[in-house]
Point group: C2
Chain length 230, copies 2
DNA sequence: CGACGAGTTGACGAAACTCAAGAGTCGTGG
DNA sequence: CCACGACTCTTGAGTTTCGTCAACTCGTCG
């Protein structure tokens, strides 16, 4: 289960918002030799409401964060990929995990001990700034998500998501969905059924789907629709 | 426009998550003598996407944070009261404000310079921890909000909100809405019309409304409904 | 082959928004 | 003191959106 980091792993850690501005020595001193956690698809990495003893950086794979509501239904909060970190704010403040984390596909993550981090932070103000930057980024992501949930229809949110995948491209674009459709649906706050229908409706705006491949006839046209809704 | 802090003001600042664990001397050194901003109802304190030069602590009144979407519609993110801080993460990381802030009623806030804070943070690791704690708390609030938007119906969200106001009380409870109904509606992600109707529907569950006074016949019954939805 | 899970599709109903009109409240100015 | 306008809140009617339940297809894997 526990391994040590490869050369490639260190490169990915170095690209993270947390360690990007830290020198390699400082980074290595925070990460133990047996810090790598290999998790299979469906494995739980940490559970909502349990004490936050560690935080994590993703080396490979995909991790979804979700919350379980009082009535048992679950809300997917976000889905993260390589070199992204999660649970740092919880671990640092000694709180409980505010979401559960589960591997969407087989993944590898680095587990970093919170107590060690807390000791280091007193000595290194740069580390504090890095953590604050990361927390600030997460705040921004969540704010955007709330804005979209409150102001956009499900159709618009889906179009927006596809456009996010398309990136800054123009004209025709072909992309593949990064993970299962039911997950995308949950991420966007709708049911798989609605997702399927909505995707069908977008055909009218030049979006074609086959399997997990999505083709956009004209990115700008879709973007225009998305902002105007209509 | 600019005043200095009264004795009471310092007390309120001391109760904030940011300065609660800091000694008074450290707090005073961060806050200038003319730091108090008196804002009238409707005044804007800062604007989304502008560079974050300061952050704020509320002394009195109510401040709403909101985002303007691409299509012009606005999403209320949160509403804060005395001794709560906002924009600290943005100010500290030198980013732009991720929401706009506007006074809901006549209010007084302390403006704190971000550059000063950034200098201090290197010297005082406690300050860094206080800021991280505050950011972590905000993250938690937003997560909860996303969970509720994704899993609860508007009716359940409204019931939940009323229960929040009722606090840990049991049995019969009479409370008054903290601010205009249209604001509450926006906060819960619905239109004023839906809010009005939904409030009417809750009569079936022992909720009576007159003006801004809300009476709950049996808090536990409402709580049960809220968790089961039904 | 058969079981399973993901995805799609259909039918139906409930939830929520829009547009529109009306009631009540408050402050201002004549 | 009253009339007016501005604003909030409510109510009504009609429509759209979205979730639910169910059946069915399809690909995968044993």
């Amino acid at each position: 289960m526990a391994e040590s980091l490869t050369q490639d792993d260190w490169r990915i850690v170095g690209q993270s918002a947390l360690f990007g501005r830290l020198d390699a020595v400082a980074a290595r001193s925070l990460i133990g030799d047996d810090a790598v956690l290999a998790v299979a698809r469906g494995d739980t990495i940490c559970r909502q409401d349990e004490p936050a003893a560690s935080y994590f950086i993703i080396l490979s794979g995909l991790i979804k964060l979700f919350r379980r509501a009082a009535d048992g239904s679950i809300a997917i909060i976000s889905i993260h990929g390589p070199s992204q970190s999660f649970m740092e704010a919880e671990a640092l403040t000694g709180a409980t995990y505010s979401t559960s984390a589960e591997a969407v596909v087989d993944s590898r993550v680095v587990r970093i001990d919170a107590a060690t981090l807390r000791r280091r932070i007193s000595a290194d103000p740069k580390l504090a700034m890095a953590l604050l930057g990361s927390a600030s980024m997460h705040l921004r992501m969540l704010l955007e998500q709330i804005e979209k949930l409150k102001t956009m229809t499900a159709t618009a949110r889906l179009a927006d998501f596809i456009l996010l995948l398309a990136g800054p491209r123009e004209g025709r674009a072909e992309i593949s969905l990064p993970y299962e459709k039911r997950l995308v649906a949950g991420h966007l706050g709708m049911t798989p059924e609605s997702f399927s229908r909505t995707l069908g409706q977008l055909r009218r705006h030049g979006v074609h789907v086959e399997r997990d491949k999505v083709t956009i006839d004209d990115v700008d046209r879709l973007r225009a629709y998305c902002e105007a809704d209509e």
